[in-house]
Subunit: 238 residues, 2 copies
DNA sequence: CGATGCGTTGATAACTTTCAAATTTAGTGG
DNA sequence: CCACTAAATTTGAAAGTTATCAACGCATCG
């Protein structure tokens, strides 16, 4: 079968710890929004930031899940290597996203920087301690899990569809997570996209070309895509 | 494309309320296991049981999620109808399983009885009230969501695989949820299985026949399957 | 430059779906 | 209990989709 990458590029584990360089939000930002997003605010205060170069491993599958992470800049992929060598990408993480949150005590996925990335590192024990004292934090933690569950369920719906539908959904998803406008900048390679959608790199490439031929999108460079006809994409999306 | 059922059999909504008939566990069952599974015990005490005949709807997508449910006997499917009429089955629920737990206030899936089914009905507001008073219950509620997330992620891994691998995984999953032994009784139709695995009914049928020809399984009746060679199935599983 | 990595394109093979029909099973009324 | 009808499942043949294998273009980088 081998739908996906069989050969892994070895990830370098070469993080740059920027200890003490904690981003403290300006006070006025805390004034309003009362308990609106206290989790996010607490997290800002809890951990140092780390910088990872492109392709560096942030954590590996089955390693103890003592930390979780919040993207500051750059992009990260989480993934799992299957028994036969295929790679399934769990998620692409963009600034603001939280990843590495586990319920069990080991990571079920690995994580690598796609581009140079800065992340906030939060000690899990500190966060759970906080949650046990503050019900609001606890609820937000639960909400985070619930949102991940919802995303997983959307992905299930995506994976039963055709290649065209998967690629269209992917583009719309990325557009939704990108700055407003019709142009999206993809940080990830075609192989990453293929492993995310459960397709081969060739099928992804061909599908993009055919969407381009249909004037639904433009592909000025391989990493930049302009949506020309969103409704056609949404229609494909089902 | 139409991978899945396009025509739905109309579900009858004809539940039989057995109000007051709450199963109270014998006291000695509560003595030990202290807080081991207080959620399950609390739920026993909270709600009435309802009986649904085969194919009856238990709740519909987008209906208010005021209740959640715990299977007592029989089996239930949760599902979603897609824009183009396809049906994706979210889960098969067997005795002991909890379903209908939502984070938002409406159901994201519908639920129907596959066979005549008895379920415990729990008012969500009561449970969340309980959870806000008792941290243990809260944690168990969170654990329930986390477990669902894990199942969803396993399903994602399943859906990128070939038809043989999907069917093999399905059989192993059902075997794991059935009483010990190599024989499993499937409460659901081939169409249900197909809509669960993202395949057509014909592909499911053919795959089962080919597994039977390979002496990996036996199919004495269409609803009963005997695993003859689990390691072969696991190998297919990846 | 020549090597290397990434993306695209082409031809062919493998797999899954679709459409159609045969067969078995289940349900119903006599 | 049997016969009959409807529903579910299996099987067959053909078409459609995606993967695989191979080659090519294009950029980056030493």
């Amino acid at each position: 079968m081998l739908t996906q990458t069989a050969i892994r590029t070895d990830a370098i584990r070469r993080p740059t710890m920027l200890a003490g360089k904690v981003a403290i939000p300006p006070q006025h930002a805390l004034d309003h929004a009362a308990e609106a997003d206290s989790l996010a605010q607490q997290m800002q205060l809890m951990g140092p930031t780390m910088s990872f170069p492109r392709n560096a491993e942030i954590f590996g599958e089955n390693e103890p899940a003592d930390f979780l992470y919040k993207m500051i800049s750059g992009s990260v992929r989480t993934y799992k290597i299957l028994g036969d060598g295929r790679r399934q990408i769990g998620d692409f993480c963009l600034p603001g996203d939280v990843f590495g949150l586990e319920f069990a005590d080991v990571h079920t996925l690995s994580a690598e920087a796609i581009t140079d990335a800065r992340v906030l590192v939060i000690k899990r024990s500190a966060l759970t301690a906080l949650a046990s004292r503050d019900a609001v934090i606890g609820r937000e933690l639960h909400a985070l899990t619930a949102r991940e569950l919802q995303r997983a369920q959307e992905r299930i719906l995506l994976l039963i569809k055709s290649a065209q539908e998967r690629v269209a959904s992917f583009l719309l998803e990325m557009a939704g997570r990108s700055p407003p406008g019709n142009s999206i900048e993809l940080p990830m390679s075609r192989q990453d996209i293929a492993d995310y959608l459960g397709l081969t790199i060739e099928t992804v490439s061909r599908t993009l070309t055919s969407l381009e031929n249909a004037a639904t999108i433009e592909v000025p460079t391989s990493r930049r895509i302009v949506l020309r006809n969103r409704s056609a994409l949404s229609r494909l999306n089902g």
